[in-house]
């Protein structure tokens, strides 16, 4: 939705939009990112709002998070305010330069926006990136909702610049994809007028061990400086009565669940301490808060980071206070924190607070609705070709290692096309590992275009040098599709919407020295299958690469819709259909099966006419209407 921006105006915003707005209001001139749910919408909102308001910025979808960080770090060293945006798993890729940037210090405010996914709803693991701040000895902040996120971004950029340390801005899916009213503020136009200067300071910036040894003590001085600043609002906020026997310390979106729980129980006399920063920890206000209580509950999301610090503070100050939280089993150490869990914890601690009882409801299990590859997805053609080729050439299912992206949906029934999905680029590295372990199965690594550019090239070099007998299938659909179609090096477009040079994976593969490279159209099952069979036999003495190239169908449809071109769906010739359900087992959402007449049908409003089902139908029962397959 287009935002109406007229000075101070209240608009409904997601956390991601609010963070983008906050970055621009604080004068952040350089923003870089690698897409990853739940963070993906920030950079596009940053670009959109900057264009709407004529703010001169540089935004980039970088090839991976580490490169993104290095670009923004350099911008910061030049005195500009900079941000780098990623999901929690992405921050694990930047720890090397991040930890060094803490030692060298920075110039302009530098914020790492890190989207955690506690549930997880869209991640392979759930990690608490506040830990990175402890590891690298930098600042870690967290907001509780979109409106607060926007203000906290601004405070964080200022704090980072003031003390000369990068900051991790940790927020969660609930805030990223939650919407609240947000009050718009003014843009700090000074931030955009800054001119870049690079000061040569080899004692700092050539961070070899002797220099690092000299600079590390300074890092701790900066942290102490930050600690003094954050001992007051907005970093720490006390609510409720000045004292009581039982209180709650909370941070992030659980703050609102604590309020909800107390309100459901009808309690309004419990002191609450809300922390918007976990590193450095505002120790004095915490000690103050604890000193007046007999019992305290710590409600934070994922790891008990604040909780363990509270134990330490209580211990070192000889406080006789009972501390409850994750380490005492009152709250789960994983997953999203909900009002229900907090109600339960409060009830466990204080039996007298039980004013709210969940209604009993015994529905039984509602079957899961399993997501599929989209109708017309080119990955479906690639997977079917790979499965058929393995069966024909090797008489076995082989082992197919997946990677991170849309093509993960291919693991779901009925396709069940991949056996693993671990981390960015892991498919190829693990394929080498399986082959070198002496496994006799055929091994195929499947990786998307964006993932290949991000983390697939080093393991492919490794596979070549060590003659790993594996097939690498690059599913190249020209976009980073899973996260909402961000451009990548293969797209030919950049984050600002301008044309960009295009990188072709086959040229990289060729450059490595790999001999077998085939580029095929995954909509052509016979051609694709043949290429995989050839690759399997060519891969006896080193990797063979098949590139399945076809643009993401959703992007193609978007373009056709703009041009007013209507697609012509295929249809099932019911006289020919034998009810074998081979088409249904492709998992295409445009197909349905009628168990009464034992025939498949095509759902016309969903079919894009890719013809994959028609090509694999043993009875040739799926026919095009007027149009030939593959024409559009």
């Amino acid at each position: 939705m287009k935002l109406i921006e007229m000075g101070k105006y209240r608009v409904l915003m997601t956390g991601n939009e609010a963070i983008a707005r906050g970055l621009l209001e604080s004068g952040v001139k350089v923003a870089t990112a690698y897409p990853g749910t739940p963070s993906s919408e920030i950079l596009s909102a940053y670009v959109r709002i900057s264009k709407e308001n004529n703010l001169s910025v540089y935004a980039e979808w970088a090839v991976n998070e580490k490169v993104a960080f290095e670009i923004s770090y350099a911008a910061s060293l030049c005195g500009l305010r900079a941000a780098v945006i990623m999901k929690h798993l992405g921050t694990h890729w930047i720890l090397d330069p991040l930890s060094v940037s803490a030692v060298t210090g920075i110039g302009g405010g530098l914020v790492v926006i890190s989207a955690d996914d506690p549930a997880p709803l869209s991640s392979q693991s759930s990690t608490d990136t506040r830990n990175h701040a402890k590891l690298a000895h930098i600042i870690a902040v967290e907001p509780s909702d979109p409106a607060e996120a926007k203000e906290l971004v601004k405070e964080t950029v200022n704090l980072s610049e003031k003390v000369g340390l990068p900051a991790i801005f940790r927020y969660t899916d609930r805030i990223a994809h939650g919407r609240t009213p947000v009050d718009l503020g003014d843009f700090n136009t000074n931030g955009y007028r800054r001119l870049p200067t690079f000061k040569k300071e080899p004692d700092k910036l050539v961070s070899i061990a002797p220099n690092a040894r000299k600079n590390i003590p300074n890092l701790f001085k900066k942290l102490e400086k930050a600690k003094k600043i954050v001992s007051r609002p907005p970093w720490v906020i006390k609510e409720g009565p000045p004292d009581g026997e039982f209180g709650i310390i909370t941070s992030g979106s659980p703050y609102h669940d604590v309020k909800e729980a107390l309100s459901l129980m009808g309690i309004d006399d419990i002191p609450i301490l809300k922390l918007l920063i976990s590193n450095p920890l505002p120790e004095e206000p915490i000690l103050d808060f604890l000193s007046n209580l007999n019992e305290v509950l710590i409600a934070e999301e994922l790891d008990p980071i604040i909780e363990l610090e509270v134990f330490r503070i209580a211990l070192s100050n000889d406080l006789s206070i009972k501390i409850y939280g994750k380490s005492t089993g009152h709250l789960r150490p994983y997953g999203e924190l909900t009002t229900d869990q907090i109600l339960h914890a409060i009830h466990l601690i204080k039996k007298k607070y039980s004013g709210y009882v969940l209604p009993e409801l015994n529905v039984g299990d509602v079957p899961r609705r399993i997501p599929q590859l989209c109708a017309g997805c080119s990955h479906r053609g690639a997977y079917i070709s790979i499965k058929n080729a393995l069966k024909k050439a090797c008489g076995e299912r082989g082992i197919v290692l997946g990677d991170r992206g849309c093509y993960n949906q291919g693991a779901n029934p009925p396709l069940r096309a991949i056996d693993t999905a671990i981390a960015m680029g892991s498919s190829i590295g693990m394929a080498v590992g399986l082959a070198k372990s002496g496994l006799q199965n055929s091994i195929i690594a499947v990786i998307g275009d964006s993932t290949f550019f991000h983390a697939g090239i080093p393991p492919l070099i490794d596979a070549y040098v060590h003659k790993a007998p594996i097939v690498v299938a690059i599913l190249d659909n020209s976009w980073t599709s899973m996260t909402g179609h961000q451009p990548n090096p293969g797209t030919g477009k950049n984050a600002m919407g301008e044309p960009a040079p295009k990188v072709f994976p086959e040229r990289i593969v060729e450059g490595i020295g790999i001999q077998f490279i085939k580029v095929v159209d995954p909509y052509n099952i016979a051609e694709s299958e043949k290429a995989v069979i050839e690759a399997l036999s060519a891969a006896k003495n080193g990797p063979a690469v098949v590139i399945f190239r076809r643009e993401c169908v959703l992007q193609e449809l978007r373009r056709l819709r703009k041009e007013g071109i209507r697609l012509k769906p295929l249809k099932v010739n019911l006289a020919k259909c034998t009810g074998c359900r081979i088409c249904i087992r492709t998992g295409c959402p445009a197909l349905e099966f009628n168990f009464f007449d034992n025939k498949a049908r095509i759902i016309e409003e969903k079919c894009v006419g890719c013809s994959i089902c028609a090509q694999i139908c043993p009875s040739n029962a799926i026919e095009s209407n007027e149009r030939e397959a593959g024409l559009w």
């Binding site: 939705m1 209240r10 608009v11 409904l12 749910t37 739940p38 709803l121 869209s122 909702d145 899916d173 609930r174 994809h177 939650g178 919407r179 609240t180 009213p181 979106s253 609102h256 669940d257 309020k259 909800e260 309100s263 459901l264 909900t338 009002t339 229900d340 109600l343 969940l358 209604p359 409801l361 529905v363 509602v366 079957p367 899961r368 609705r369 399993i370 997501p371 599929q372 590859l373 989209c374 949906q409 779901n412 029934p413 009925p414 899973m482 996260t483 959703l554 359900r581 249904i584 087992r585 998992g587 295409c588 959402p589 197909l591 349905e592 099966f593 409003e605």
Partner: protein, 203 residues
Amino acid sequence: MVNGVVSIILSGIGGQGLRIASQILGEASIRAGFDVKIRESHGLAQREGSVVSHVRIGKEVHSFLIPEGTAQALVSLELLEGARNIKYLKPNGLAVLNDKLLYPVSYYTRETAYPDKKWILSVFKQHRAKLALINAEALAKRAGDLRASNVVMLGFLAASNVLPFSPKFVVEAIKAIFSYSADVNIKAFELGFEAARSVDYET
């Protein structure tokens, strides 16, 4: 209202326009001077997965998530998805269901079950829900666009006195959000609104 907050759970499958529906309620709330919090599912549009939105409206809203058993209304664009989220609905709450069963692919391959409609409705009856089944797609088609089923459902909701503000704020929000196709969507809203007046609730 639980502590002055109205909670509405919206459910369906990817691509049914759930996100826009919750956005409309959010925009309407702001226009009516209320605080609002919305939590949406992301990443499964077009991919046939379950989606759900939590919408909470009040003078001051705390949690993004509706505590189980407290929603005043459940609005579902698909029957099974309604049953999936019934735990959020308070007993005797309003359930507005689009009378539509969308079978997942895995049902056709017999890899997952899909309960029959009778079972789904029995779940709501067991919960003593004030249940209304409407054919939102027929009404959306009559308004001029099948895709406006989501707005038909909002029309029904707005007529059932759950929202703490006048339906005119919803219409204003629709106008702001659908700048090009506002007419079709306002018509869809009106048809849903009218449907609520003539519906027989199944309890």
